[in-house]
Symmetry: C2
Subunit: 176 residues, 2 copies
């Protein structure tokens, strides 16, 4: 149920409407916890029902601006510090690796090389993002930077792994 906590965390930062939150999910949170419009409006309704958020103001076009309640703040803090993150699972990129023995070695090496290129592209994207944002001193900026650094390091490791793996497979191919 982390969508719930993402909403709680965002609204805790500043009051917002579903529309506002949606834009955040499409930008800053896109690489971390993507969510669709359906999900956001649905969960916002439920969070209101259970009293973790409230509609503090109405705006034009039926805009509902949500604010976090004390219970919401308590729930957010509990989730942050007292619940264990689930280990990330399911990578269809890696799943394919398991079955690469079904295709010729050069096809497998090509697949791995393509994953290396994709990782390099992601890395470049993160570098660019890092340069384009003017980082403030607010907490979301500070920790946003830490999160971005995660993306950089993981992408770099993925690229190095893919290059190594492709070379490994090509070496095995010649060895046979």
């Amino acid at each position: 149920m982390s969508l719930r906590h993402a909403l709680l965390g965002l609204v805790a930062e500043r009051p917002a409407s579903g529309y506002d939150l949606l834009k955040t999910f499409e930008t800053s949170l896109a690489h971390v916890w993507p969510a669709t419009q359906s999900q956001v409006y649905g969960e916002l309704g439920r969070l209101g029902d259970v009293g973790l958020l409230t509609v503090a103001a109405q705006g034009p076009r039926g805009r509902k601006e949500y604010t976090i309640t004390d219970e919401g703040l308590a729930e957010l803090r509990h989730w942050l510090l007292s619940t264990a993150p689930e280990r990330p699972a399911r990578s269809d990129m890696l799943l394919r690796v398991f079955f690469l023995g079904r295709v010729a070695a050069d096809e497998a090496a090509d697949y791995l090389a393509r994953q290396g290129e994709a990782a390099a592209a992601r890395l470049a994207g993160f570098e660019e993002l890092s340069d384009s944002i003017d980082w403030g001193q607010d907490p979301l900026s500070v920790y946003g930077k830490v999160a971005l650094e995660y993306g950089r390091r993981i992408s770099a490791a993925q690229r190095e792994w893919a290059d190594w793996a492709a070379a490994q497979v090509r070496a095995g191919e010649r060895g046979q």
Copy 2:
């Protein structure tokens, strides 16, 4: 729909029953594409219905041994080489990082340090696994090793990031 392709890939390697496949999902594939009993039996039925797998033999206790069909093989190959892996998304560990500004700096640093320890433990697990398996020359072994190396490298990068981030936060704390 990658569960489907995981089943296709496994059965392509050697004919198997739902029960056999389940054990593979709980061991080798646990870190890559976990699946439950419900899912496996359900999808196996559907794969039979659409003709990508067939029940080639029956055994005791209603055991059904599945074999891959030519269409199944074609579908597997297509998925392997001609469909793009989805980029991995959703990390509740990272999502928490975004909201770490809600808690005191030392609590945030503790959180990051714990993630570092968890990554170190995963790394140790992979090292141990790597030593315990007697790697053969069969394709599943060769590429299984490549997949394991991925786990090692990513875990190492995660540990280094978490240690760096925790230090970063503690430095900021003193700076204020």
